[in-house]
């Protein structure tokens, strides 16, 4: 405990040093964020948009970073990306504080703990910073917008539809989830249960197990589920570690074509299973597009632009972006179903 605190402290210090150095140039831009209704491009020269992910160094957030950097190049702002090395709320808070101190123009956070992040976001707003969330929301906070990758309903329904299509619309299936308290996974599972009951009366979820973030454990549990339910014809891997895990279990048991799997897996990790038929589809979203959209939303916030006016988003991956003013949610669109045909096009 002591040691991890020390490391966190050291990281926060170096993070602070890094942003202070980087901030020297942007410190003197007082006008840009105040410029009312200016069209983007003209006033984004000195604009600084910071993004604090849950965790730095994992492919998911690195892909978001890539998208954000691309937006920075095209729309002309400075993109700062810094996250903790473990998914730790305290370490993340230190990084957020350092960005507040530096006085960035817009601050995006994917909070590890939405509740403890809320007061910090208030602090940031009081310091004149536009605050927003992306990837994971902090619903009861002062955030101006939440950039949402896909709706809970969208993911739950896409998982169910893709699996049941492979299973022929009926049969027993089980879910291998990961963290037992992970709010987003549990919300998706709730939708899957309700949607399966209402749309597929001949299908049944027989068990839900939790493997943690452990691929081998997910594979073993999927094997156990196939053994304990000989008539099982479907498996869902609810996170990026159990999605390839359940497919591997079906492949190892030599039951491709008898037991079908879907999951939330990154395209690269699912490609071999999509090709072998062990996985019938992987449901996720275009993570780089989410990063790009985050950067775009930051520019709109800084310029008091209209988030609902998505006409400047010309890329195909951003064609379905929707803004809901009442809830302040900017939605990327329906989730993407990756198959053997398109999974190879993505490099994460």
């Amino acid at each position: 405990m002591k040691i991890s605190r020390k490391i966190a402290g050291a990281l926060a210090l170096s993070a602070a040093a890094a942003v202070v150095l980087a901030g020297c140039t942007s410190r003197n831009d007082t006008g840009s964020s105040a410029a009312p209704g200016a069209s983007e491009g003209a006033s984004t020269e000195d604009l600084t948009i910071a993004f604090v992910p849950k965790l730095q160094g994992i492919p998911y957030f690195e892909a978001m970073n890539t998208g954000g950097q691309q937006a920075a190049e095209e729309l002309g702002f400075e993109w700062l990306y810094q996250g903790p090395t473990t998914a730790d709320a305290a370490a993340q808070a230190d990084i957020v504080r350092s960005f507040i101190q530096q006085g960035v123009d817009v601050l995006f956070v994917a909070p590890n703990d939405p509740n403890s992040m809320a007061p910090l976001l208030e602090e940031a707003q009081a310091a004149g910073i536009h605050v927003a969330t992306t990837d994971t929301d902090a619903p009861d906070s002062v955030r101006e917008v939440f950039v949402n990758q896909a709706s809970v309903e969208g993911i739950g329904q896409a998982l169910t539809d893709t699996l049941l299509e492979a299973m022929g619309g009926s049969g027993k299936y089980a879910i291998v989830s990961c963290g037992e308290t992970a709010a987003n996974l549990n919300a998706w599972i709730e939708v899957q249960e309700a949607y399966t009951a209402s749309e597929y009366p001949d299908a049944e979820i027989v068990d839900i197990v939790y493997a943690g973030e452990d691929q081998a454990m997910a594979t073993q549990m999927a094997t156990d589920l196939m053994n304990s339910h000989p008539d099982l014809t479907g498996l869902v891997g609810e996170c990026t570690s159990s999605a390839p895990g359940v497919a591997q279990a079906v492949q190892d048991a030599n039951r491709i074509g008898e037991v079908f799997t879907v999951g939330l897996g990154t395209p690269q990790s699912m490609l071999p299973y999509l090709e072998s038929g062990a996985s019938s589809g992987s449901i996720l979203w275009d993570v780089e597009a989410l990063g790009y959209l985050t950067g775009w939303a930051g520019v709109q916030l800084a310029n008091d632009g209209d988030l609902g006016d998505t006409s400047s988003l010309t890329d195909e991956s951003l064609a379905d972006v929707e803004y809901d003013e009442a809830s302040g949610v900017l939605l990327l669109g329906p989730p993407t179903v990756f198959t053997a045909e398109n999974a190879g096009d993505y490099d994460y």
Binding site: P59, A211, A216, D224, P230, A249
Partner: protein, 337 residues
């Protein structure tokens, strides 16, 4: 203490009198518990006692039992190694990267993984033997070093498209011969060799003496430090071999969660197997049985359709019972002395 005196016993005393019985009470108890559990699970689940269920279970046990052999040595010397997860991560990620980039044969990949593990283990051993700091502190430090090293090699991305070169160790059809999983057979072989070594080899008996009382062992002329280096080196080498099994049983993608939590699973198997956490006493056969027991509980809970969290409850109870009986035995021995 008693073992130290035994090690110094004159040659005239027959070996039979010095050696503990072939099978200890703890092992018998474990065997009975396992047998009862397997029969019950066979009765109450549709397929627990079928090859399609037992095979994968034994494959899952293999890396834990294998590292457990090294960890039993370590704990017998009154040490501990909490850097196992880090060693697995470094070995696995380097080996996986090599497998993806170069067309190496399985044997070369295995050799590479073992050498990496042994090197990391040797670092542990040297620091512990000559640094004279408690092993838990040293290995806690190196555990973090190894994780850093592993993450450097991962370089912020998963290793994708790992070929099936190591399928010999896997859960699939290529991973077993006549229904016996290769990885489990290797673990059993390692246990057999270690059992003989601890029982009949002088170097093996010395480990008990070191764990019983390190100073007494030194005074008795045992080269304590080189022995300790070897013990941690072997644990590292076995972790390297286990990393190959982890790659083979994993998916075609390796992510940074590899190895995570394995050190606690291994220590759980060793403790449940009856090895005294205080050092000086322990058996590798018990460790193997302990590893099988833990996985039986986890798989059993899933196959019975019970909530996953119950697995933690049962494993926790087993550990507490095992440690409790060990401490009671130790106290009884002290009051006799």
């Amino acid at each position: 203490m008693t073992t130290a005196t035994e090690a110094r016993a004159p040659q005239s005393v027959s070996m039979r009198r010095i050696l503990p019985p072939i099978v200890t009470g703890q092992e018998v108890v474990l065997l009975v518990v396992l047998a009862v559990l397997w029969v019950l699970l066979g009765l109450f689940t549709p397929a627990f006692l079928t090859p399609g269920s037992i095979g994968p279970l034994l494959v899952q046990v293999a890396p834990i039992a294998l590292i457990g052999v090294g960890m039993t040595f370590v704990i017998i010397t009154a040490g501990i190694d909490v850097s196992v997860a880090g060693m697995i991560m470094v070995s696995a990620v380097v080996t996986a990267r090599v497998l993806v980039s170069y067309d190496v044969p399985a044997i070369a990949a295995v050799a590479l993984a073992i050498v990496i593990g042994a090197a990391l283990g040797a670092l542990n051993g040297v620091l512990i033997a000559y640094g004279r700091v408690h092993p838990i502190i040293i290995t806690f430090g190196t555990a973090n070093l190894f994780l850093w090293l592993g993450l450097r090699v991962f370089n912020s991305s998963t290793v994708n498209g790992i070929p099936s070169t190591l399928e010999f160790f896997g859960r699939g059809a290529a991973g077993s011969t006549l229904g016996v999983p290769h990885s489990f057979a290797i673990a059993v072989l390692a246990v057999a060799v270690a059992w003989w070594f601890l029982r009949y080899a002088k170097a093996g008996r010395n480990l008990y003496a070191i764990g019983g009382n390190q100073n007494a062992a030194r005074l008795a002329g045992i080269k304590v430090q080189p022995r300790l280096v070897w013990v941690y080196l072997i644990t590292g080498a076995l972790a390297g071999l286990a990393a190959c099994m982890v790659i083979a049983t994993g998916t075609s993608t390796l992510d940074q969660s590899v190895g995570s939590g394995k050190e606690l699973q291994v220590i759980a198997a060793v403790v449940i197997g009856g090895t005294s956490i205080l050092g000086g006493r322990g058996s590798v056969v018990g460790t193997l049985l302990g590893a099988i027991l833990v996985q039986t509980v986890v798989s059993g809970v899933t196959q019975l359709g019970w909530p996953t969290q119950l697995g933690f409850l049962f494993v926790g109870i087993f550990i507490l019972i095992a440690v409790g009986t060990d401490l009671i035995r130790e106290r009884a021995r002290r009051s006799r002395a």
